[in-house]
C-alpha cells in the first residue's frame, strides 16, 4: 500500500531523515522514538506537507513524493497533526463537514459529519466553536475531520501527546474503532508503551533512521 524508498530530508544542514526505507501493506504501524528523531517529518512528507530531498514515496503503485497535500488527500491519505489545527472560527460540526463538501451537497455533508461526531464522541459539542474545545476534544475533532476525508490511510502524529489519562484512553478507544473499520494507519509516539495495544507492528526511529522495533 505505502512504501518509502531511500527518503532523505535535510533542514538547514541537519539531516532529519537518512535514506528511510519503510513499507506498510495493511493494518496499523507504530513509529516510536524521541523528539527530533524525524517521525513528524516522515509523516509530513507522506502527506505532501514537506518535500523529500531525495527518494520515493509510493502509494498504491504511484509515486506521490512532492505532490500537493490536496492531491494526496484526494488519493486517500489524511493526517492528524501533533498540534491540532482546527478551523477555529467554525463549529465542530462545520469542521467535520468541510471535507465531505468535496464530494457531497451541503445537507449530505452535515448529515455525514453528524455521524462522524457521534463516532468520535463529540455529538454533544457539535454546535461549539472549535476554539472553545479542550486539548483532548481538539484531538478528537482532528481525528473526526481526518476521517471525514474517507481515508484509506491515516497518519496520526503523536495522537496521545498532551492528553491526560482519560483523554488518552478515549483516543485509544477511537483508534481501535477506526482499525475495526478497516482503515490503515501510521501512528507515532515518543514511547513504545503508548502504542502497544493499538498497532500491529512497531518501528523505532532514532537520528533519522528507522528500524523494526520490539
Amino acid at each position: 500500500m505505502l512504501q518509502l524508498i531511500d527518503v532523505s530530508k535535510v533542514y538547514n544542514g541537519n539531516v532529519v531523515l537518512r535514506s528511510i526505507n519503510f513499507k506498510l501493506e495493511s493494518g496499523f504501524a507504530g513509529i516510536y522514538g524521541p523528539n527530533g528523531s524525524g517521525k513528524s517529518t516522515m509523516l509530513k512528507i507522506i502527506a505532501g506537507i514537506e518535500r523529500p530531498d531525495c527518494g520515493r514515496v509510493v502509494f498504491e503503485g504511484k509515486d506521490i513524493a512532492g505532490k500537493a497535500p490536496e492531491e494526496i488527500a484526494k488519493m486517500g491519505i489524511s493526517i492528524v497533526y501533533q498540534i491540532p489545527r482546527p478551523f477555529k472560527n467554525m463549529t465542530v460540526l462545520e469542521n467535520v463537514a468541510t471535507p465531505f463538501l468535496l464530494r457531497k451537497s451541503y445537507r449530505e455533508a452535515i448529515e455525514s459529519a453528524m455521524e462522524i461526531c457521534e463516532f468520535v464522541g463529540l455529538r454533544n459539542k457539535v454546535n461549539l466553536k472549535a476554539g472553545m474545545l479542550s486539548q483532548g476534544e481538539l484531538r478528537l475533532l482532528e481525528i473526526g475531520r481526518a476521517l471525514a476525508t474517507q481515508p484509506k490511510l491515516m497518519l496520526l502524529d503523536e495522537p496521545f501527546s498532551g492528553l491526560d489519562v482519560e483523554n488518552a484512553k478515549r483516543v485509544r478507544r477511537i483508534l481501535r474503532k477506526i482499525k475495526r473499520e478497516g482503515v490503515d494507519a501510521i501512528v507515532t509516539a515518543h514511547r513504545m508503551k503508548l502504542l502497544r495495544d493499538v498497532v500491529d507492528i512497531s518501528y523505532e526511529m532514532r537520528g533519522g533512521r528507522i528500524a523494526e522495533g520490539r
Binding site: R85, P86, N89
Partner: protein, 285 residues
C-alpha cells in the same frame, strides 16, 4: 443567521428612509453612501471571510468606471486585470498583501493621470478624466440600493454554503485545509472573483451616478475608505454599510466649514484602530 437577518432588515430600513423623505439632496448623499457601502462590502468579504486585507479595492472600483466611460467592451478586460492583479499580489503572502496592494493602488492613482484618448483630434482624459451619460439621481439610488441588497443577501448565502465553509477553512488554516483536500489557491481565486465583481459593480454605479470619472477614483482616500468604514462600526456584516454612511455624512455635514473633515475622521480611526479592533472583537466574543 439571526444577526444577518437583523442586519438585512436594518439595511433595508436605511435604504427606504431617503425614499420616504423624497428629498433630492438626501437621495444624492445616500446614493454616494450606498455606492461606497458596496465597495466596503466587497472589501469586507475579502478581509473577513477570506482573510485577505487589501488596500487596493480602489483598483477594481476605478478601472470598472474608467472602462465603462472609455468603452463598455473593455469591462471584461478591466475585471480580469483587477483579478489578475489581486492574484499576483497574493503570491507574496497574507502579511505582505496589505502593503503590496497599497503600493499598487498608489501606482494606479499616479498612472491614471496619464490615461488619455484622442477623440476627433482632441485629447481627452488625463487629470480631467472622462465623462459618461449619468442615469439621474433617483434611478442611481434605486440601482445602487438594489445592488447593495443583492450583494448583502448573496454574501449571507455564500457564508452558509459549502463554498463559504471552504473559504473559511482556507482563511483559518491553509495547510490544514489543503490536508483535507481543499485546493486553497482555487478557493482564494474564487473569493477574489466574488470581491472584485462586487467592487466592479460599485465602480459602474459610481460612473452611472456621477457621469464622470477622474484619477480621484484611485486616490488614497478611496483606497483606505473600505478599511476605515469597516473599522468604524464594528465587526458585523452591517459594519461596512454603517461605516460608509458615517464617512459620507461627516464629509457632507462639514463640507462648508471643513472640506477635508473626512480625512480627520480617517486619521482618528487609523490612530484608534488597534483599540477599535479590540473593542469589536470583545463585543463579538
Amino acid at each position: 443567521m439571526v444577526a444577518l437577518k437583523k442586519d438585512f432588515i436594518l439595511i433595508l430600513t436605511i435604504l427606504l428612509l431617503p425614499l420616504l423623505l423624497r428629498s433630492s439632496f438626501v437621495v444624492s448623499v445616500a446614493t454616494i453612501a450606498v455606492i461606497y457601502s458596496i465597495l466596503s462590502l466587497s472589501w469586507f468579504f475579502m478581509e473577513k471571510e477570506a482573510g485577505w486585507a487589501s488596500l487596493a479595492h480602489s483598483i477594481p472600483f476605478g478601472i470598472a468606471a474608467y472602462a465603462l466611460a472609455i468603452n463598455p467592451t473593455l469591462l471584461i478586460l478591466a475585471f480580469l486585470l483587477s483579478l489578475l492583479l489581486f492574484a499576483a499580489l497574493s503570491l507574496s503572502g497574507r502579511e505582505k498583501f496589505v502593503f503590496t496592494s497599497f503600493i499598487t493602488a498608489v501606482v494606479f492613482w499616479y498612472l491614471s493621470h496619464y490615461i488619455t484618448l484622442s477623440v476627433n483630434g482632441e485629447i481627452v482624459g488625463g487629470e480631467e478624466g472622462f465623462s459618461f451619460q449619468s442615469i439621474g439621481i433617483w434611478e442611481s439610488y434605486l440601482l445602487s440600493s438594489s445592488m447593495l441588497l443583492l450583494f448583502f443577501a448573496s454574501f449571507a448565502l455564500i457564508r452558509k454554503s459549502g463554498l463559504g465553509l471552504k473559504i473559511e477553512a482556507v482563511r483559518d488554516d491553509e495547510i490544514a485545509a489543503r490536508s483535507i483536500g481543499i485546493d486553497a489557491f482555487k478557493i482564494r481565486i474564487v473569493s477574489f472573483t466574488i470581491s472584485v465583481i462586487t467592487a466592479t459593480v460599485a465602480g459602474l454605479c459610481y460612473l452611472l451616478y456621477f457621469g464622470h470619472v477622474s484619477p480621484e477614483i484611485f486616490s488614497v482616500e478611496v483606497a483606505l475608505l473600505p478599511f476605515v468604514a469597516s473599522l468604524i462600526a464594528g465587526n458585523r456584516w452591517l459594519s461596512p454599510v454603517v461605516g460608509s454612511y458615517t464617512v459620507v455624512i461627516v464629509s457632507r455635514a462639514f463640507s462648508g466649514i471643513l472640506p477635508e473633515a473626512h480625512l480627520l475622521l480617517y486619521a482618528a480611526v487609523l490612530i484608534l484602530s488597534p483599540k477599535l479592533k479590540g473593542w469589536w472583537s470583545a463585543s463579538v466574543d
